[in-house]
């Protein structure tokens, strides 16, 4: 009984603040990451040779460097050249760029899977390339990329815990501090893990719902629900 009271009074408010910080990291990183992924995915398929190359290099580096190393570079490395980022900003930038590199590949794959005729038909109606890509190809490609990109969203929820390493105290950070302070590692990290599980479950449910909502009628796709 004491234990429960302790958890409720001492631990819960702290962890809740951590959850809140995690959410503040995850949501903008997801949005920016997806947006960056779309732009770089489109450039990798339909960009001119220079842009194609640049987008390719972006993906190479941001998938190639470990995320933790990227975060260290943003937060501890940049001050060397006079740029000081807050822990929060460093984490969001790091997550968005890394996530974007993965989304880029999902979008690229989805764009490549769309029949050539879709583009030809758009051209024949007088669409310019960029308009055809954004009005005709991307709406189809994003549907196809969603299962893969959804996976990336879920990864992001969990690798947001790395923000702790650049002193942005989110859920895992709060958990570590509490665990060290009270010396209750088993209890606190179990709770922390369970909270991530809940967040991932909510995201999974949301993604499945979205997939059902945007499914194109007539393609005989089985529903999740």
């Amino acid at each position: 009984m004491d234990e429960l009271l302790f958890l409720r009074q001492e631990v819960a408010p702290e962890l809740l603040a951590g959850v809140w910080m995690s959410i503040k990291l995850i949501i903008p990183s997801t949005i920016f990451g997806f947006f960056i992924g779309i732009v770089s995915g489109v450039l990798r398929v339909y960009g001119n040779p220079v842009l194609k190359r640049l987008a390719g290099l972006y993906v190479l580096f941001f998938r190639g460097f470990p995320l933790l190393v990227q975060l260290y570079l943003w937060y501890f490395g940049l001050p060397r050249i006079g740029i000081y980022l807050s822990p929060f900003a460093a984490a969001v930038i790091g997550f968005s760029l890394c996530s974007g590199a993965y989304h880029s590949e999902y979008i690229r794959g989805a764009l490549l899977s769309i029949r050539k005729g879709q583009l030809l038909a758009a051209y024949s109606l007088g669409f310019s390339k960029i308009r055809a890509v954004f009005s005709i190809l991307l709406p189809q490609a994003m549907r196809r990329a969603l299962p893969g990109s959804g996976n990336e969203f879920i990864y992001l929820i969990k690798y947001s815990s790395l923000a702790y390493m650049v002193t942005c105290i989110e859920l895992t950070g709060k958990g570590s501090i509490l665990a060290n302070f009270y010396f209750k590692y088993l209890e606190i990290f179990s709770i922390v893990g369970a909270i991530y599980l809940v967040m991932v479950s909510i995201a999974t449910w949301g993604l499945n719902y979205l997939e059902d909502r945007i499914a194109i009628p007539g393609f005989g796709r089985p529903k999740y629900s």
Binding site: A121, Y123, L125, S128
Partner: protein, 254 residues
């Protein structure tokens, strides 16, 4: 004046894929309201020619004039303006998979011509009605039959107000019983005075519609003339051979 200048004039188009020369200097003219049909064996360059005319395939050589004005396809604006005036119907329909029939017809006028959505919707509904699909407006391509898809694609092209229509084997991907409904729509267009260039294997249909037939083989127009002459009294041996073959096929099937 309009009768003097051909709506569309194609001059000496050449196209190669690597060492394979698919078009070896093709020229033709389309007068306003004229209907020309291209026949010929597969691999003869018919489809490539239509794709070239719409610059969907880059040409190596040749010029294209719309209403007497040469189209410079490297000028993006000029190219998209030209394509809006030249409707294209594909063998495999190429409807936009993620849009229902109405939005397939709507998207060109709204996104390309910047016509207000309400006005464009009215027009799109009218075009779908014209091809007999008013009741199927909210269906998605995957929910339509082949014949219905092809009719939607015709409505989609018409909504752009084209001056010429290029039809690339519009019925060759269809079940025999669905061909009739598409032919009917094309026939209506012809009666309405639409200028058309049609590639087809349906010689019976072609001869009833065309004012001139081109026989194309091996990247060249081998022979051209009025339907009766090309189909039954051709000068060139290859034309005669081809026409008697598909003629027999046609007779057997009817």
């Amino acid at each position: 004046m309009t009768d003097q200048t051909p709506v569309l004039r194609i001059q000496n188009i050449e196209k190669s894929y690597g060492d394979n020369k698919v078009l070896k200097g093709v020229s033709l003219e389309l007068n306003r309201g004229g209907i020309k049909v291209i026949i010929g064996p597969s691999g003869g360059g018919k489809s490539t020619l239509l794709h070239c005319i719409n610059f969907l395939v880059g040409l190596d050589e040749g010029r294209i004039y719309l209403n007497g004005k040469e189209i410079v396809h490297t000028r993006k604006r000029e190219l998209t303006a030209y394509r809006q005036k030249v409707g294209m119907i594909f063998q495999d329909f190429n409807l936009f998979d993620h849009l229902n029939a109405l939005h397939n017809v709507l998207i060109g006028p709204v996104r390309v011509k910047k016509i207000p959505k309400s006005e464009a919707t009215e027009r799109a509904v009218a075009e779908l009605e014209r091809v007999g699909l008013r009741d199927h407006m909210t269906k998605y391509p995957a929910e339509l039959s082949g014949g219905q898809k092809q009719r939607v694609s015709i409505a989609r092209a018409l909504a752009m107000d084209p001056e010429v229509m290029l039809l690339d084997e519009p019925t060759s991907a269809l079940d025999p019983e669905l061909i009739g409904e598409v032919h009917e729509v094309i026939r209506d267009l012809a009666l309405g005075g639409m200028t058309m260039l049609l590639v087809t294997h349906e010689v019976g249909f072609a001869s009833s519609l065309a004012d001139e037939i081109f026989f194309m083989e091996d990247g060249k127009i081998v022979e051209q003339g009025p339907p009766q002459k090309i189909l039954f009294n051709a000068e060139c041996d290859r034309t005669r051979e081809f026409c008697s073959k598909i003629g027999r096929l046609h007779n057997n099937s009817s």
